[in-house]
């Protein structure tokens, strides 16, 4: 042989060869002469030489010209990789069109590089208390009392689905394997893209997933591995459409244990991050969650000014932001970039001041902006990543009828039974369209007329005191009195409700509002609309106002709180109960007050 006997052959002490046995024998002979513990580097070099030589031998064997190099040692690997015995249930790859495709034996386990994320799983407790929901011991997903057979007969059989009237819509034959059916249902390149599943599809998907998991359960281990990788890839690509399937799939494969590991497979890690984010989001939307207010604040559109501190505690906002970035970066999409930026800019995080002469700075954020007719009214406060949007519409005429009816109901509820949609179109066309659009969006989301009507009430309510700046005299006072009434109603319902109303400007529909108050609200709304005054709020900048000393005294008397506690509450600190009580007392006192700053303070309340 003319090849120079360099690495790896020199170390092995043999001439270049394609014979794997000769290479391994040479390695064995060498290693017997060594004291491994005394020659760690030599051992490492020898091993590398052997592995390199075996690779060379393998590639020689693979070349047609070198086919005569015997290589019994590696032969079974090639046989195992034969595509002829690909898993029974694997989708036919082509046709279903998921990027995940058919699992490839021995292929790259890291899936689509586009999914690469840098997500850390474990929360930094110092910064944020993101305790992931306790998944508990792996749930007994599939209870099987059946006898154990190496291959379960149902893997190949069709999945029977209950209540799946629209299985044809998926475009698949009923007899296809669950793998193919699932791939078709979730197909990110399909007609519905990654749009969330509707209720029927959701049930169908879960049923198919169970069949898939059953198929996996009864398969031999490397098939399981393939199927698992395939499923992880499919779910990752189909996110967020695949969302409802995440928990059961994660349970079945124990993916949770893989999160945060150095060798976690990319799709598993990606799905883990989504699932943890979803769990966190579900919890943070509970008003009792520590970061609930901070979340609402960051989700609110527009810039935040010095008044923001009445809405959320600076430490919490910082903690939430740091935690989200560290743990669930994708959730930052739910925050308003401008708002995030304005919190970040504010170095030193203003804590408010007490001005001499008994004046106190009241810091409050005014911008309860109406996001406008085009977007979901609840996009900030309740980012509904799992609510199915754009449900396939049936009959357009029927749909229009439903929207018209709901809009009429909303108008009647907001402005009184003697007003109709046509009237609103004449008086305030912009508002009429906005209400119609939001009503349609709610109905399409599968919500009932009741919800659509509640949304309309909220929208108009927000308008009147956002517009309060443009109102004057009696209108202004009345808007403020109504605001007070609603705040009190909210407080009667609970401190949390009161704070939510103060912070988010949204009064939960479950809060009972006295009929007299509703009648007054309707009258004012109708009167403003009649005069064309119920206009969309402009960009209201954050402002501060000085609270005159006598008002502070009044508040202290009314609430029984000390000066310090009142000052704290006005700066958005202290307990929820104090903040709520102080806001109400200040509103009452200011409405009685005839002195200076009256309007400024009211505008901030």
């Amino acid at each position: 042989m003319s090849v120079t006997a360099a690495f790896p052959w020199s170390l092995l002490g043999i001439a270049p060869t394609g014979d794997a046995r000769a290479i391994r024998s040479a390695y064995a002979a060498r290693i017997r002469t060594m004291d491994l513990d005394a020659d760690v580097e030599g051992y490492a070099a020898l091993r590398q030489a052997r592995d390199a030589a075996l690779r060379i031998a393998k590639s020689m064997a693979a070349e047609p010209g070198a086919a005569n190099f015997g290589e019994q040692g590696e032969a079974p690997a090639a046989a195992a990789a034969s595509p002829a015995d690909s898993p029974a249930g694997t989708p036919p790859g082509t046709g279903v069109g998921t990027g995940a495709g058919t699992p490839v034996l021995g292929g790259d386990r890291h899936g689509d590089p586009a999914l690469t994320t840098q997500l850390s799983p474990i929360a930094d407790d110092a910064a944020v208390r993101f305790t992931p929901t306790d998944a508990g011991p792996a749930a007994e997903a599939e209870a099987c009392g059946e006898s154990l057979l190496p291959v379960h007969p149902n893997v190949l059989a069709a999945v029977r689905l209950e209540g799946h009237a629209d299985s044809d819509a998926v475009g698949m034959e009923a007899l296809q394997s669950p793998f193919a059916r699932l791939a078709a249902l979730l197909d990110p390149d399909g007609p519905q893209g990654t749009a969330p599943l509707d209720d029927a599809q959701d049930r169908q998907a879960l049923a198919i997933l169970n069949a898939v998991l059953d198929g996996v359960h009864w398969s031999p281990i490397d098939r399981q591995d393939e199927m698992e990788n395939w499923l992880a890839g499919l779910l990752a690509q189909a996110w967020p459409r695949s969302a409802p399937l995440l928990e059961p799939a994660t349970d079945a494969f124990g993916w949770e244990q893989e999160w945060g590991r150095l060798d976690a497979r990319t799709p598993v890690e990606y799905l883990g991050a989504r699932l943890r984010g979803y769990r966190f989001q579900r919890r943070v939307l509970e008003p009792s969650h520590r970061y609930h207010k901070a979340w609402l604040e960051l989700a609110r559109p527009g810039r935040a000014g010095p008044l923001r501190l009445l809405r959320a505690n600076g430490g919490d906002v910082r903690g939430l932001l740091a935690g989200v970035r560290k743990n669930f970066p994708e959730l930052e999409d739910h925050f308003d970039p401008q708002r995030v930026a304005s919190w970040e800019e504010a170095s030193g995080w203003p804590t408010g001041l007490i001005v001499g002469g008994g004046l106190m700075m009241l810091a409050l954020l005014v911008a309860i902006a109406d996001p406008g007719p085009a977007s979901h009214s609840d996009s900030g406060a309740n980012p509904a990543i799992f609510t199915p949007a754009g449900k396939a519409s049936g009959d357009p005429a029927a749909e229009k009828r439903a929207v018209d009816e709901a809009t009429a109901a909303a108008v009647a509820e907001v402005f009184g039974p003697d007003r109709d949609t046509a009237w609103l179109h004449r008086q305030q066309p912009e508002l009429a369209i906005a209400l119609e659009l939001s009503t349609r969006a709610e109905l399409q989301d599968g919500k009932g007329t009741g919800i659509a009507v509640e949304r309309a009430v909220e929208k108009v309510r927000q308008r009147f005191y956002l517009d309060a700046g443009t109102l004057s005299g009696a209108d202004f006072d009345q808007a403020m009195h109504l605001r007070l009434g609603l705040l009190e109603a909210a407080r009667r319902h609970g401190t949390a409700t009161c704070l939510t109303y103060l912070n988010a400007g949204v009064l939960a529909a479950t809060v009972p509002v006295p009929d007299t108050l509703r009648t007054q609200e309707r009258a004012l709304a109708a009167s403003l609309a009649d005069r064309g005054l119920l206009i969309a709020p402009g960009l209201t900048g954050p402002r501060t106002a000085s609270v005159p000393g006598p008002l502070v005294q009044d508040v202290m008397r009314a609430t029984g709180l000390a000066h310090g506690a009142v000052a704290q509450a006005m700066q958005g600190k202290g307990s929820d109960a104090n903040r709520c009580a102080v806001s109400i007392a200040l509103l009452q006192a200011t409405l009685r007050w005839k002195g200076e700053h009256r309007r400024d303070v009211l505008l901030l309340l």
């Binding site: 064995a28 017997r32 491994l36 513990d37 690997a77 154990l148 281990i221 591995d225």
Partner: protein, 568 residues
């Protein structure tokens, strides 16, 4: 003399390499397996093995089993009013094994190869080595249990073997290793495991499953916890073993004067341990992935460990691999036999001249680092691997790290083991500080070398090129290196214990067994057993060998009869 010891969760065994073959050494009762159980009375009297297991029923507060599960932790067990760590109790068992070898070979062994689960971490390994030292042994090598089993399996016929998988489910730990053998070189390609999964967990699952049905009136709630656990554990174990050979078995125990019993079917047992069975899959998948070997390529699935006898486990294996496992090695003996082969290798025995074994480090080792994130913040607590898992050992690797603060005066290295990207998810092994010259951030570097030897023990060197400082760390903190005085102190405590003379072992075990039977039965039978015990003790007191032998024969016969009637 160099011996091989399998220090198991449920049973321990010792073997010697003699005349070119591995040979198990029987204990004083003639058993090849010594239950890993120790009972110590207030006066310092010690029972080891089967009699200790019997005393679990009569003296649960003085008796410890499954203490291997506490290895490497600070937890202690109270026996006879004194606290013992897992390594102390293990040392007592090891000493008993040493005496057994001495009785057989006429020579007291001084050196040993001791097996540990492949997935034992550094702390657990060091604790095991200390147990050996406490028992007066020089531990020449710690060897992974599946590797030992692979040696025993592989050397059966010394032929070449395509990669095979060792599936080692013991009483408390689960290991999977993929091994191949060529020209006498036994090469472990990858190991994975779960050091908290074993037969004990199946017992617990069965007990939890059965309890509501067994004891609807909550009689057990009134029993002190230790005793309750001991009762349930023993009943569960007996029931589980019975289920290995019958479609249903009785789960029975006696509380005071009441006997509680229920029948458990195989199917019910399978349901009860379904979650555990599912945990068997993950290590198998990891080992296959790490070795890039397909399951279809495996030439054999070798079962090791008593818990692999369970039909539910065998079924799961058959399903996972699509074929029947290989049962050609004795699941309880293979590890000890392999340990003695390793002892022969360490001792350079001529019969093993052609044989070498190479193993891997089954977990990732590295240090804690911080990094700047894209928002300019500092991400602390990240794990920077230095030795990747399943790297062949011995191995030595270097990584370089830089200072992050201006004028930083020292670098602190937290040493961790595990697979999580953040150190909080890994096992902390200790820490090492090196002083560095104060310079602007990033200008000072430190080279960290991790050396992992064939016993799976780690040594760390840190070198700061700028000023030539070097630090070496073999043992990472106080807990890991008790100073020699401390070892002496523990030895002194153990030396005060009183052991039964070897020739009395049979009688001692018989009394423990009879007392256990007394607890297990009620009414007239109990009275009768009490009477037999009195007679036997009376015979012992006469010191008349013939009378003792007769009384013993009588008692053994009666107890055997009782055990035949009711398995408990």
């Amino acid at each position: 003399m160099l011996i091989g010891i399998d220090l198991g969760t449920t049973n321990s065994a010792v073997a010697i390499w003699r005349g070119g073959e591995a040979q198990l050494v029987p204990n004083a009762l003639g058993q090849l397996l010594t239950p890993s159980a120790v009972s110590i009375a207030k006066d310092g009297q010690v029972w080891i093995g089967t009699p200790a297991l019997d005393r679990m029923a009569t003296h649960p507060a003085d008796t410890a089993t499954s203490f291997k599960r506490m290895m490497g932790t600070q937890r202690t067990a109270k026996l006879g009013g004194k606290d013992y760590k897992a390594e102390d109790i293990s040392a007592i068992v090891l000493e008993a094994l040493v005496r057994d070898v001495e009785a057989l070979a006429g020579e007291k062994p001084t050196e040993a190869v001791i097996t540990v689960p492949a997935y034992f971490n550094d702390r657990q390994r060091k604790a095991t080595r200390r147990a050996g030292e406490l028992a007066g042994l020089t531990v020449r090598r710690l060897i992974n249990e599946p590797t030992a089993a692979a040696l025993a399996f592989g050397l059966q016929d010394k032929g070449d073997r395509e990669p095979f998988l060792v599936f080692d489910l013991g009483g408390g730990t689960f290991d999977v290793s993929i091994v191949e053998m060529f020209d006498g070189i036994v090469e472990v390609r990858a190991s994975a495991g779960d050091n908290r999964l074993g037969g004990d967990d199946f017992d617990d699952a069965l007990a939890a499953f059965v309890r509501p049905r067994l004891d609807p009136e909550g009689l057990l709630d009134a029993v002190p916890q230790e005793r309750r656990e001991a009762l349930l554990k023993r009943a569960a174990e007996a029931c589980r073993r019975a289920l290995s050979s019958a479609p249903e078995a009785e789960f029975a125990l006696t509380v005071g004067e009441t006997r509680l019993a229920t029948t458990v079917t195989e199917t019910e047992f399978e349901t009860a341990c379904e979650a555990l069975v599912r945990r068997l899959r993950d290590p198998v998948v990891r080992a296959l992935r790490d070795s890039s070997i397909e399951a279809a390529e495996l030439s054999d699935i070798v079962l090791v460990g008593g818990a692999t006898r369970m039909p539910v486990v065998r079924k799961a294996i058959t399903r996972l691999f699509g074929r029947f496992p290989n049962s050609s090695v004795h699941p309880d003996h293979a590890v000890a036999l392999g340990a003695s082969i390793q002892a022969g290798l360490v001792g350079r025995d001529a019969a093993l001249e052609e044989v070498r074994i190479t193993d891997v480090c089954p977990f990732t080792l590295g240090v804690e680092v911080a990094e700047h994130d894209r928002y300019g913040g500092l991400q602390r607590g990240l794990f920077s691997p230095i030795i990747e898992r399943n790297t062949p050992v011995p191995v030595s690797r270097v990584s370089t790290y830089h200072t992050m603060g201006d004028g930083q005066k020292q670098i602190e290295f937290g040493i961790y083991q595990g697979e999580a990207r953040e150190v909080s998810g890994n096992v902390r092994l200790g820490q090492l500080q090196v002083p560095v010259p104060p310079r602007p951030a990033g200008e000072v570097s430190a080279q960290v070398r991790f050396s992992y030897d064939s016993s799976g023990l780690l040594e760390i060197d840190v070198h700061v090129p700028l000023n030539g400082t070097k630090r070496t760390l073999t043992i990472l903190d106080e807990e890991d290196r008790p100073d020699p005085k401390d070892i002496e102190k523990r030895r002194a405590v153990l030396a005060k214990l009183k052991f039964h003379p070897r020739e009395e072992a049979g009688n001692v075990a018989l009394i423990a067994r009879a007392e256990r039977c007394y607890e297990d039965h009620i009414g007239e039978l109990r009275q009768a057993i009490g009477h037999w015990i009195t007679e036997f003790v009376g015979a012992l007191d006469t010191q008349d060998p013939r009378r003792i032998a007769d009384a013993r024969g009588f008692l053994v016969e009666r107890l055997d009869e009782l055990d035949r009637v009711s398995p408990l």
